[in-house]
Subunit: 493 residues, 2 copies
Amino acid sequence: MTDTQKKPRRPRAETPKGFRDYFGAEVTERKDMLDRIAAVYHRHGFDALETSGIETVEALGKFLPDVDRPNAGVFAFQEEEVPGGGSGDWLALRYDLTAPLARVAAQFRNDLPSPYRRYAMGPVWRNEKPGPGRFRQFYQCDADTVGSASVAADAEICAMLADALEAVGIQRGDYIVRINNRKVLNGVLEAASVRPDQADDVLRQIDKFDKVGAEGVRQLLTVGRKDDSGAEIAGVGLTDDQAGPLLAFLTSKGADNGATLANLRAAVGGSAIGAEGVDELAQIADMLTAMGLGEDRIIIDPSIVRGLGYYTGPVFEAELTFEILDEKGRKRQFGSVAGGGRYDGLVERFTGQKVPATGISIGVDRLLAALRAKGLAGRDSAGPVVVTVMDRDRMADYQAMAAELRAAGIRAEVYLGNPKNFGNQLKYADKRRAPIAIIQGGDEAARGVVQVKDLILGAKIAAEASVEEWKSQPAQTEVPRDRLVAEVRRILG
Amino acid sequence: MTDTQKKPRRPRAETPKGFRDYFGAEVTERKDMLDRIAAVYHRHGFDALETSGIETVEALGKFLPDVDRPNAGVFAFQEEEVPGGGSGDWLALRYDLTAPLARVAAQFRNDLPSPYRRYAMGPVWRNEKPGPGRFRQFYQCDADTVGSASVAADAEICAMLADALEAVGIQRGDYIVRINNRKVLNGVLEAASVRPDQADDVLRQIDKFDKVGAEGVRQLLTVGRKDDSGAEIAGVGLTDDQAGPLLAFLTSKGADNGATLANLRAAVGGSAIGAEGVDELAQIADMLTAMGLGEDRIIIDPSIVRGLGYYTGPVFEAELTFEILDEKGRKRQFGSVAGGGRYDGLVERFTGQKVPATGISIGVDRLLAALRAKGLAGRDSAGPVVVTVMDRDRMADYQAMAAELRAAGIRAEVYLGNPKNFGNQLKYADKRRAPIAIIQGGDEAARGVVQVKDLILGAKIAAEASVEEWKSQPAQTEVPRDRLVAEVRRILG
């Protein structure tokens, strides 16, 4: 290096684009929610599985179950060359928890119990363009049963999902789990004499049922329609007679499951696969009743079409039905927080054998946002009691106070910055959202007392009180040193 | 694709080399341990921090705190090119939790409380050659205080570490936290007139104190010695007079902290930095006493030299002192499970300013192995009660039984495989380590009863009993259907 060379510039202290940090309650609130869900899954006989973040690209494949993002990218990198020749394997970060489950189910097929019930929770990575609120690392929370063709497995997953939502605090009546069945749709397609090459197109159009309604879908299935901007959208070209069973399917939800099932039987006409699908839904309904889950919690709803293109049997979706205010202050329903269904191709890529599987994935960030909107998150995220430092030579005394408080189960810490400026200590306590500050100067120490300052009451008084009231300091109490824990307990309530 | 082209071969269902999966109790035992540690950290005022797995290579730097692996590799990959020119940033998976803390402490220095106490738990990745028991993804569990130069922060970290070890189940007397101080060593080097260019070499030799003892280190510091194989190892070339203070330092542990501190004061002679180091240790000892932590839990021990090369002040190490049997059946002490100390360079790379910090890292896999060796892990990893399926048309009845058991807080599941072969169902229950199987055929259903089979007692009988005893089936009880939950509860105890 020559004398004229500059020092290298300092590195930037930044997360990569599309990544973020989670602080304090952001971490513990999510953890608390996932812990409650895990407890429900465990009680249902599901076992935890934790795979590593890295898989071979070969094992990962392109098995993206989330139909909304079929072309999502992965973060991939190549292993260093193997000594003695040959280039290294390509590795990648997992983009979901289903692909690793497929690999595990194939790799350990002789060791795992069959059926294998497992849950998994953890981060996944997607190499996508980040956007507002859209990150390239996020949590997923899945439960799947691998190796059972029985609809009992599907019923159990739905029941477990409803239990999980209640376990995190969503009240009965504030959510609904809806069930549909791809086989019923197949039956309807058969009843409507839809050609196989038209099926994808038909699915794409009925997926717009939410937005355009029954008449809109009828137009899209037949001659086409104008969208809001006036643009002409081509129709699939079915006749009105063909569109009939499809519309009957979408609108067959009746006053109760019995009525819905009767409507569905009519919609599938003489189709054998359709009848099988309706029978499955009827069995699921019976099982849910036996398990004590009423139609106020789980209901058959053929208007749920999301995922029907991907799944092969029953399809589930959990929706939160309470209203929140959107960014423009308008009331709207919270919407979907979980989805899943039955699929067959899980381990086939690896073993050549079809293995039936069914499962559910909870949208972790969405559900957590819902809990926050309802005031149900962060029940345990209070700041610590801060023991201030008036006399740095008596640090051991202050530490003894904090230790006593902690021994009584109270979150507590000693101020560890430069104690010279007491105002800074109170600013620090404020930043820590401390409910209480403890103060003991030399005078108080000599008299064997401490000052206990109620910062929450203090803030309230500061905002509302007159100068006289403020000076009288009702938020600060002097107590004997040996009453410290009792007084803090009293204020914390 | 031509007709003659073969189908692509099936992908291999394998983890990449050096990675592994964690099943069931392997996941929940670790989680239980980390939860207990997190509760202790939280009670001490530490806040959770979760950074993402991916950082920019620029931010990550080469700040590897684990001195044993200074050249550890990272998994790195380049971002795709930025549209409109410029190549993408290099990104990498974090190799520890300290480098992300440094980035966060710099990035959010105006927002975070100061001092900032944080804990972090999660996987890290190292692109190293895997070996037996050595994986390329593993957990770390760190707690650090950033921005406090006070030894009160060091004392607090040590006290918290001792509390954490007891919280996970290590009994008092089965562990010891040892404290040393780099400043004392610096004072000793000064007292011994060791030249700065000899310091690294001296450190390397005294690090062998564990293996070669005092006389061995004396030889290594002076004229050299022969190792076990007879090879000549060169000495540093100090005189015996120079080696004296260094050996006095290493062997200065006395009957109690008071004696140790007196020995250390003698060893540092007139060195100012040495006296400062001894004063710091004396203050830490006073603070620990004030917090109620005796020398049976935390002790000053100058023979702890690991980490002295990296840290700048107090150094800590937690050791488990109970004996286990090694792979050859020999008794040995379990050894170190956590280490840490004070360091100054944390955010300097980013901001140019030295920020004092101190922290501890618990070896997650080692501590978990210790808990397993002591039978302290897996207190809640029992298998579920398995409700068997005698009649597949009455699936709803079996699901109702499982739902009842779960509502009573009992882990339970219905067998979801093909129910044809009952033997397979019991094999499944065995694989699930089920304590109990529930059986109800058509006959029992008609009579309103269920069979409750105690599988643990059954296995015991099968191993010990005569054919007659076995036939009498004392491990299987028939109870009225409405006594199901009560009977299961009775057996589970």
